[in-house]
């Protein structure tokens, strides 16, 4: 193994370490939903290469309204699925679509895109 090989290998391993850190170990911030009229908790979620915010704290037993707006042309995020509530919504680009759910028990409720690549969750407490 010559110097080039060693350098390339070290760079390669560094890239692997970076992939693990950047995509797996990184934790996004959690946002607390705001309670509006009639106890409705509301959060605006932007869909652009993922959900922003992707982690939302809500109170269990109170309805939650998620206002999704897809800000990208990629069709990956064109559907949002909330399997825990049996709901799916089609998200046309640049339009806000509201989905109302009721997390009646404390726990984590996932929401994903149609192909399960974008992931977000409601944390009900």
């Amino acid at each position: 193994m010559n110097a080039t090989n060693i350098i390339v290998t070290v760079i390669g391993l560094a890239v692997i370490a970076w992939i693990i850190w950047y995509f797996w170990l990184w934790k996004g911030e959690t946002v607390q939903a705001l309670t509006k009229e009639k106890g409705m908790q509301e959060v605006d979620v932007t869909v652009k290469g993922g959900y922003q915010p992707a982690s939302i704290m809500v109170k269990a037993g109170q309805p939650v309204r998620l206002n999704f707006t897809r800000r990208e042309a990629s069709t990956c995020g064109e559907e949002v699925v909330l399997p825990g509530f049996g709901k799916r919504a089609h998200l046309p680009q640049d339009q806000t679509v509201s989905v109302e759910v009721l997390p009646d028990k404390p726990g984590e409720y996932e929401f994903t895109c149609g192909m399960n690549m974008y992931r977000g969750k409601l944390i009900a407490e």
Partner: protein, 779 residues
């Protein structure tokens, strides 16, 4: 539970043309009776300065369908539209606009494909020159020029045809996310970038590693875009079942208001309207017939193609087809309350749920893309350090192949797409499956408990025999029993009352009445204490049954239910009631046994009668004399029995299904692993069970199990295919076959394979659309 606003009213900002939601708009202005909404204060300012400029030309521009038409909605009409879209109409709207959007997107994607393909061919040809030695020699001096030209020629392909991959990958990256776009962008991007650097500055690379891969970048993008376009088209087919249901709705209704017949759209029908339906027309909403009679085809909700005769007082379902006569009915349910709307909503919910089998995929797919990236880097390093020369070329080619062959989409699509087709298909046959979990459990059912009354039998018992003991006449006995039973709502009691009425017996009211659940009734009639009920009631009251025995046994053996009558605590006689078995029960039970399901019958009826019925329909195990509140306990015992067998090394745990009506059997349905509620079409107990059989026939249980099994095996095929594809494809792309066979996959083949794998999954799921239950005579 709160329901989602499937579609919000969207309006167009008259200044910039952007779509805005009136509720969240940055501002609004009134002009000439119209309300306009703006995306930003700036737009509002511009509008207010010269509103005419922005309003004159816009009206009539129908390019954007609904939105353009709504751009100058007044408040009142906006609310009306909002109300409409909240009704079942919304679902229709979504399917329509979704369909339109999908068609538009398909066309764009195909244009992008052709653009990439047309530019790809010449680039591919110039690259092929490399492989023909004589041509290679001849174009030696042009090599660099061709390279630079190719770089320019292919850049628009990446920038336009492939832009969604790069934009998507970047957006994902910023969110610490990855998806298929990441892989495609990395694969094609690195191929293009490497080749461009080689073309511009060949001196940077040692002799022999100056390969260019513009063809790879372009063809891979072309193939993947084509794959996505075909996938989109196939996907739109998989939601066909719901569309079919919605298309069946009538568009208008003819109502009689203030003595006038007027045609209005079905959204305007309100509860209480009198609606007129002529032969051949569709019933617009749910209601009760006021006048007239007809045969009505309810197959849209029940899946039963034989029309049902209806007369005044009968319930009609919206979207069913009036065949023969004209009638008027009073609307009782409109909008999203109609049976059809509820069915559509339930089917949509089920299509969006996730069966447990999909959970493994979730875990896999969240680690998938980063893992593939790591494998790609490892592949590069292995070839770079241990590969044959020119190492850099081999490293690049294999890395790109690994990136573009991996297909997370096939994995992600495998479960939901089959579920969508399967659940929709079941709904077509009047079988409503609550969610993915119910579907998966139904496919693995081992034991099925059938309630007798109303499930196997028609649930409309009729009076058959009256056997008085010596001190009573037939008429006296029937009269006493009928009056005692008069206030009871039990079907057996109703049969006795009806039998007495039909026999012309004079009826009166009981002075006192008390229903004893599961046993019978006690009442005071003409000053005498009358008991009518089953054996348990007589035993409880210490009334000797010896005089009853012979008659009771004979009746029970005939499948009739003997009801014992005691007057003033002394036996008075037996009245027998019998229920008729539904026409298709026997065939359905035979079909269930063919599906290797153990079928049991459960009833509150006495054992002899129950066994007689069971014999007629081919059931060997009977749970008789079960009180209503004990039904759930019996199911629990059966489930425990299964676990016990398992502990002793028997076959897997027992999954018990229960079929009954959604109201009386609700606790048992809930206790069962799968509860099947038998509805009667007009009274769908949608909330009650895991699976609702709208048609009211046991045949629906067979269909439910068949559809579930077909769907689950389809999901398994998809998952297996997707897993195997990735598990085999990635190592081959990495060059695992090279040391043995000298075989290396071209990244172009890898890209084609990836496109094919998603299409295969969607196509396989669409095979389920051809599912049809076996006809009764074949089972």
């Amino acid at each position: 539970m709160a329901t989602p606003k499937i579609q919000q009213v969207q309006v167009r900002d008259p200044v910039c043309g952007m779509t805005v939601n009136p509720q969240t708009a940055a501002g609004k202005s009134e002009f000439e009776g119209g309300t306009y909404y703006f995306c930003s204060p700036m737009c509002k300012q511009k509008f207010d300065a010269d509103p005419k400029r922005f309003t004159a030309a816009k009206v009539g521009s129908h390019e954007h369908g609904l939105t353009a038409a709504h751009s100058h909605l007044s408040h009142a009409s906006e609310e009306r539209v909002a109300a409409h879209s909240a009704a079942s109409h919304a679902a229709q709207g979504v399917t329509d606009s979704q369909e339109e959007a999908q068609a538009r997107e398909y066309r764009t994607m195909m244009r992008k494909f052709w653009f990439a393909a047309l530019l790809g061919v010449p680039v591919l040809l110039t690259m092929l020159v490399e492989y023909i030695p004589s041509l290679r020699e001849a174009t030696m001096h042009w090599h660099r020029t061709i390279g630079i030209a190719s770089a320019f020629l292919t850049f628009p392909v990446l920038a336009w045809s492939g832009n969604r991959f790069f934009v998507g990958a970047w957006n994902n990256f910023r969110n610490h996310n990855t998806n298929m776009d990441t892989l495609v962008a990395l694969g094609t991007g690195s191929a293009w970038l490497y080749s461009t650097i080689v073309a511009l500055a060949p001196g940077l690379f040692p002799e022999g590693t100056r390969g260019m891969y513009f063809d790879v970048a372009v063809i891979v993008i072309a193939l993947i875009v084509l794959g996505q376009a075909l996938e989109l088209r196939a996907k739109s087919r998989s939601s066909a079942a719901i569309k079919k249901l919605l298309e069946l709705q009538a568009k208008t209704a003819r109502v009689i208001r203030e003595g006038q017949e007027i045609d209005i759209s079905i959204e305007e029908v309100v509860v209480g309207d009198t609606v007129l339906v002529r032969p051949g027309e569709k019933v617009p909403v749910d209601g009760v017939i006021l006048e007239g009679e007809s045969a009505i085809d309810e197959s849209v909700v029940t899946g039963e193609s034989v029309p049902v005769d209806k007369k005044a007082g009968d319930v009609v379902i919206g979207s069913s087809v009036n065949k023969t006569g004209a009638f008027t009915f009073r609307a009782t349910k409109v909008g999203r309350d109609t049976v059809l709307s509820q069915i559509v909503e339930m089917v949509q919910q089920a299509q969006n749920s996730k069966p447990p089998i999909g959970r493994l995929v979730d875990t896999v797919s969240s680690y998938f893309v980063p893992s593939v990236m790591i494998i790609a880097v490892v592949t590069f390093l292995i070839w770079f350090n241990f590969g044959p020369p020119p190492v850099l070329n081999y490293s690049i080619v294999t890395m790109v192949s690994v990136l573009v062959i991996a297909c997370p989409c096939a994995l992600g699509l495998a479960t939901p797409i089959s579920l969508m087709v399967g659940v929709g298909k079941a709904a077509e046959y009047g079988v409503l499956i609550r969610n993915g979990e119910a579907l998966e459990t139904a496919s693995r059912l081992t034991t099925l408990v059938l309630d007798k009354t109303g499930t196997i039998t028609k649930g409309k018992p009729e009076l058959t025999d009256v056997l008085p003991l010596s001190n009573f006449s037939e008429t006296d006995l029937l009269q006493l029993a009928a009056i005692a039973d008069r206030r009871s709502e039990h079907p057996l009691a109703e049969a006795i009352v009806k039998g007495a009425r039909d026999g012309g017996i004079e009826m009166g009211e009981p002075e006192e009445f008390n229903a004893i659940p599961g046993l019978g009734v006690e009442a005071t009639v003409k000053g005498r204490r009358v008991l009518v009920g089953n054996r348990k009631l007589m035993e409880r009251e210490n009334i000797s049954l010896t005089e009853f025995e012979a008659g009771a046994s004979r009746l029970a053996d005939e499948g009739k239910t003997p009801m014992f009558v005691a007057v003033d605590n002394r036996p008075a006689g037996i009245i027998a009631v019998a229920d008729t078995i539904k026409e298709d029960s026997i065939a359905a039970i035979r079909a269930l046994r063919k599906l290797k399901i153990e079928v049991l019958m459960m009833t509150g009826d006495n054992e002899r009668t129950a066994k007689a019925i069971a014999r007629q329909v081919g059931i060997s195990r009977v749970l008789a004399e079960v009180l209503p509140e004990e039904k759930a306990r019996q199911i629990e015992l059966l489930q425990a029995e299964g676990n016990h067998q398992k502990e002793r090394g028997g076959r897997g745990s027992r999954l018990v299904g229960m079929v009954g009506d959604g109201i009386n059997d609700a606790p048992a349905l809930a206790q069962a692993d799968i509860g099947f509620a038998i509805g009667t079409g007009t009274d769908v107990a949608i909330e009650a069970a895991d699976i609702t059989l709208v048609g009211g026939s046991l045949r629906g249980v067979v269909t439910a199990i068949e559809v579930s099994r077909a769907t689950l095996s389809n999901i398994k095929q998809n998952l297996f295919g997707a897993f195997v594809y990735n598990v085999l494809g990635i190592p081959i792309a990495a060059g695992i076959l090279y040391p043995i066979f000298g075989l290396l996959l071209s990244p172009i083949i890898a890209g084609a394979a990836m496109a094919a794998s998603s299409i295969t999954v969607v196509t396989n799921a669409n095979r389920l659309r051809f599912f049809a239950p076996k006809p009764a005579e074949e089972v």
